[in-house]
């Protein structure tokens, strides 16, 4: 350990720590543009200069390593003057188009100007005219007038993805970020450039001009699109009364977790999740009775389904209830299914229909495209896909969770089999051709809309929180299953006492040792 004094306060930090990180550990924020913890320090923005006793010049916090007895001042008049100087230079050539800039509200240049700048502009010259709308990737637009040349984007593609699509061209005031031979950014991690950009130089076509950051609520969740379980922020409009209309997810951003995804997420998750949250949502309770679908209330539909199960139990001791699950269900939901249908009702068949695995990219994206297969395995489920013919033979009531059966290998074999089953209940957040084949369609919450836990491929149990609700009729499976259990009156006292995912997890943790530790 090394003892230093930071702004008059004694501080002990590990050997080899930079002044920047030492300050961070002491809760002192040092302004910066080019520095990013994942990259080699570049020292080009010159904003993180601090005063170190005995040094004739101000030194960079990002690259200077602490020495025993070092005295650092991060707020001295000289330091503040240097920061003001850098900001004055940057703002002199900045287009100041904050009113139409997507970054406004979460822009570092704005923030630092508030904190250190607040200078009157004395710039009387003509600002450089630069390209304001350069398409540099499928979803990326570069505005060179806003760029502060921190080169985080260039270094991300050089150091992290190692694809190096971007470089700095020309020199001096004409320096600009650009593509080599106009080959666009093809990295599957391009969305991170938007998050990395401290100003509004790189914007996302999916987010551009759609809303303002200050309208958004930032919810914490976990990406379900592969078994990595990247930690994410889900930024959404909370809906009425803050903004008119219903809640809407606008973007997904990485939430740093060094043990899982670091500070990044892939484009497959980033854009896929927003798209899924918005499209083909199942938002109505439907009973396909006869030729015309009928909309029902939750109470009514659960009573009807409960009655069917009860009458089946009375007539056939062998069960006759089967389930096709999905590992998009949370640990809590899977546990409820196990407790109600496997242990309680002695279900005939339980199988899984999950998205087909895709290619892994060797970085974050994994082949397994479901968030909780590991959780299902640890729960003791057999994750085999359904044998639809055997299923049709033995099943009187079938529960299908999730929309993935429709995409299962074997073509439309599931359709014929389903026709033979008298009662089919589909619990799904998304609609596809399965809905037409089901008797009951129960709209369930999407992963970003429910609370609980997911177990990623490495066995890490991670919390998700309900961050956005798409529509009033949608319910999380936890609630559907708890209510259904009450309807059936299984006589499992523990189930009757449940009131939400937390109480389910407590039960699960007691029951299955893998889930013993709290997430």
């Amino acid at each position: 350990m090394v003892k230093i004094v930071l702004d008059g306060q004694p501080l002990e930090v590990a050997e080899g720590t930079t002044v920047f990180k030492a300050a961070q550990q002491a809760g002192v924020a040092i302004p910066h543009f080019c520095y990013h913890p994942a990259f080699v320090p570049e020292g080009s923005c010159r904003l993180c200069l601090v005063a170190i006793e005995g040094s004739p010049k101000l030194e960079l916090a990002c690259s200077t390593v602490v020495r025993e007895g070092m005295k650092v001042a991060t707020q001295s008049p000289a330091v503040r003057a240097a920061r003001r100087g850098v900001l004055e230079f940057l703002l002199a050539e900045h287009p100041l188009d904050c009113p139409i800039c997507d970054k406004a509200g979460e822009c570092k240049l704005q923030d630092y100007y508030q904190e250190y700048g607040l200078t009157e502009s004395v710039f009387r010259e003509f600002k450089e005219k630069r390209d304001k709308k350069v398409r540099i990737g499928a979803k990326l637009i570069l505005d060179r007038e806003r760029c502060v040349l921190c080169t985080r984007c260039v270094r991300f593609l050089a150091e992290i993805t190692k694809t190096s699509e971007l470089g700095v061209f020309e020199r001096g005031i004409h320096s600009e970020v650009g593509l080599y031979e106009d080959e666009p950014v093809r990295s599957g991690y391009s969305g991170n450039l938007v998050d990395l950009c401290p100003v509004g130089a790189i914007t996302d076509t999916e987010f551009r001009f759609k809303t303002r950051p200050w309208f958004l609520t930032k919810g914490e969740s976990v990406c379900p699109l592969c078994s990595r379980g990247c930690n994410i922020f889900v930024d959404y409009h909370p809906g009425f009364p803050r903004v008119p209309g219903s809640a809407k997810v606008y973007r997904v951003r990485p939430r740093t977790n060094e043990a899982v995804n670091g500070p990044w997420i892939c484009d497959f998750g980033r854009y896929g999740l927003v798209e899924m949250q918005r499209t083909n949502r199942s938002d109505k309770l439907v009973w396909n009775k006869g030729d015309r679908p009928t909309e029902l209330s939750w109470n009514k539909v659960l009573t009807v389904i409960g009655e069917r199960i009860k009458s089946l139990r009375e007539r056939e001791s062998a069960g006759g209830v089967s389930l096709i699950l999905t590992s998009w269900l949370t640990n809590e939901e899977l546990y409820l299914v196990k407790r109600i249908f496997k242990d309680g009702l002695g279900a005939a068949h339980i199988s899984f229909a999950d998205p087909v695995p895709g290619p892994a990219d060797g970085f974050l994206l994994r082949a397994e495209r479901s968030p909780n297969r590991r959780g299902a395995e640890e729960m003791g489920f057999d994750l085999r896909p359904p044998d639809v013919e055997v299923l049709a033979r033995d099943t009187r009531i079938l529960f299908v969770f999730g929309p993935h059966l429709a995409g299962a290998p074997g073509g439309g074999a599931w359709k014929k089999a389903l026709d033979k089953i008298p009662v089919k209940v589909l619990v799904t957040s998304h609609l596809n051709e399965l809905a037409a084949a089901a008797d009951f369609v129960l709209p369930s919450a999407f992963i970003t809309e429910k609370s609980g836990t997911l177990t990623n491929g490495d066995g890490r149990v991670q919390r998700i929180a309900a961050v956005a609700r798409a529509c009033a009729d949608v319910r999380p499976e936890t609630q559907i299953l708890i209510d259904l259990a009450r309807e059936i009156r299984l006589g499992d006292g523990a189930l009757d006492a449940l009131d939400g995912p937390d109480s389910v997890y407590r039960l699960l943790a007691k029951d299955i040792s893998f889930f013993g530790g709290r997430p």
């Binding site: 080009s44 923005c45 010159r46 010049k57 240097a82 002199a92 005031i173």
Partner: protein, 419 residues
């Protein structure tokens, strides 16, 4: 100038000095023989340290000390880079050494490499010096044929390969780490220091970077000793300097003089003084980046410490003499344009500061100056100074601030109108 003070330029009047036969006839490569056959590498390094041979490129850092920073034990190769990217405006001394006496540089290079234990040297030469680069390559071939470069030099077992690398015309590639990046085939963007090149330099390996004139002095230190070398100059700044005098003098050119010669003597005696009827307005003493001196300030002696004490710097020894015929606005405009043009653009204060200054100066030169422009120039220069990634920021800020401060009255007519 007495003939006795000439060391580096002693034989420049000879024809065909660049041929190895001429060089050998004049006692060439004796220093290599002495160093490699009679001395241990440490002895060479010690002697150069004792000689207070200060870097001739501009920063004036003692060469022997620089060499001693290279770790002795390393599992990486060590490199020597000869900085022949002579780009500082007003500086034209290295080209004379290279053109007239390329073997002198090669000899200094061999001795420096031997002292530090280096087996590969690059001479990074500015691309515009095409004739000189070819001459150097020919000289290297000659030296190789005679066994002074290559494998097992003089049977000592010491190997040294030397390559000539042409730059592409950027001032920033004369900055030592910009030079290294360029040599590695990248953009000439200076590196963040530390680590310094002595520990992490070319190809991530320990590297010595020396100016041409610096290395050209090394053979003489080996032959004549540190004490002799110090006698030629000052106690903390040994030897001679090749001053390049340009501008409003009768005899512009290079003058090799003892370190510590007075600037007044160089201008008025060696360079023949000003043209008839002209008066001295200002002198830039050490290349364009050195702060300008007023006529009353030119009694300074030309050694690193004295010029620094006078508020400027000895730099590369490129003396630019300005007389009353030149409007100072023109000087300011040239300086501002040069640094805005040559800023590599990597760090904020230099990229945006030099450009902003250039824009103000252009406006002033066009007669659209405002009353507070000079103050703004001084303030912007101070926001660049000591805050940039490499010395180019200082190189730009210092002369701008000096001109603005010292010639405020002359610049004022350029500033009409209110703020």
């Amino acid at each position: 100038m007495s003939a006795a003070t000439k060391i580096l330029t002693r034989d420049f009047e000879l024809g065909h000095l660049h041929r190895i036969e001429t060089y050998l006839d004049r006692g060439g490569y004796r220093a290599v023989r002495k160093a490699l056959l009679e001395w241990k590498p440490e002895q060479v390094m010690d002697e150069v340290k004792k000689a207070s041979l200060r870097g001739r490129g501009g920063a004036g850092f003692p060469a022997g000390v620089k060499w001693s920073f290279v770790p002795q034990k390393t599992d990486k190769p060590k490199y020597l880079c000869v900085n022949a990217d002579e780009g500082e405006p007003g500086t034209f001394k290295d080209r004379y050494i290279l053109a007239h006496d390329p073997h002198l540089l090669i000899e200094g290079t061999i001795i420096a490499a031997y002292a530090v234990g280096i087996h590969l040297a690059y001479i990074y030469i500015r691309g515009e010096y095409e004739l000189i680069a070819r001459r150097l390559e020919e000289a290297l071939a000659e030296a190789g044929a005679k066994g002074y470069v290559g494998r097992n030099i003089l049977g000592t077992g010491f190997d040294l390969d030397v390559f000539v690398h042409r730059g592409a015309g950027a001032y920033i590639c004369g900055e030592e780490t910009g030079l290294l990046e360029s040599l590695e085939g990248k953009r000439g963007h200076p590196r963040l220091k530390p680590p310094f090149p002595a520990s992490v330099g070319l190809f991530q390996s320990p590297t010595v970077i020396n100016n041409v004139e610096t290395l050209a002095n090394v053979p003489f230190i080996v032959l004549n000793g540190a004490a002799w070398f110090l006698e030629q100059g000052q106690a903390k700044d040994g030897g001679t300097r090749i001053f390049g005098v340009s501008g409003a003098v009768n005899r512009p050119g290079i003058y090799e003089l003892p370190v510590g010669t007075s600037l007044r003597q160089i201008i008025f005696e060696n360079a023949g003084g000003l043209k008839p009827g002209r008066t001295l307005k200002a002198v830039i003493p050490g290349g364009m980046s050195s702060p300008i001196l007023l006529p009353e300030e030119i009694d300074v002696t030309m050694d690193c410490d004295s010029v620094a004490a006078a508020g400027s710097m000895l730099g590369s020894g490129g003396i630019i003499v300005i007389d009353d015929r030149t409007p100072i606005m023109n000087v300011l405009a040239k300086v501002a344009k040069f640094y805005a043009h040559e800023s590599c653009g990597q760090c904020t204060p230099c990229r945006l500061g030099t450009s902003w200054i250039h824009k103000i100066v252009k406006r002033m030169a066009a007669g659209k100056g405002k009353a507070d422009d000079v103050d703004t120039l001084i303030r912007l220069a101070s926001n660049i100074k000591a805050r940039t990634l490499c010395p180019l920021g200082d190189a730009a800020a210092m002369p701008i601030a000096a001109i603005a401060k010292k010639f405020r009255t002359e610049l004022e007519p350029a500033m009409k109108g209110s703020a």
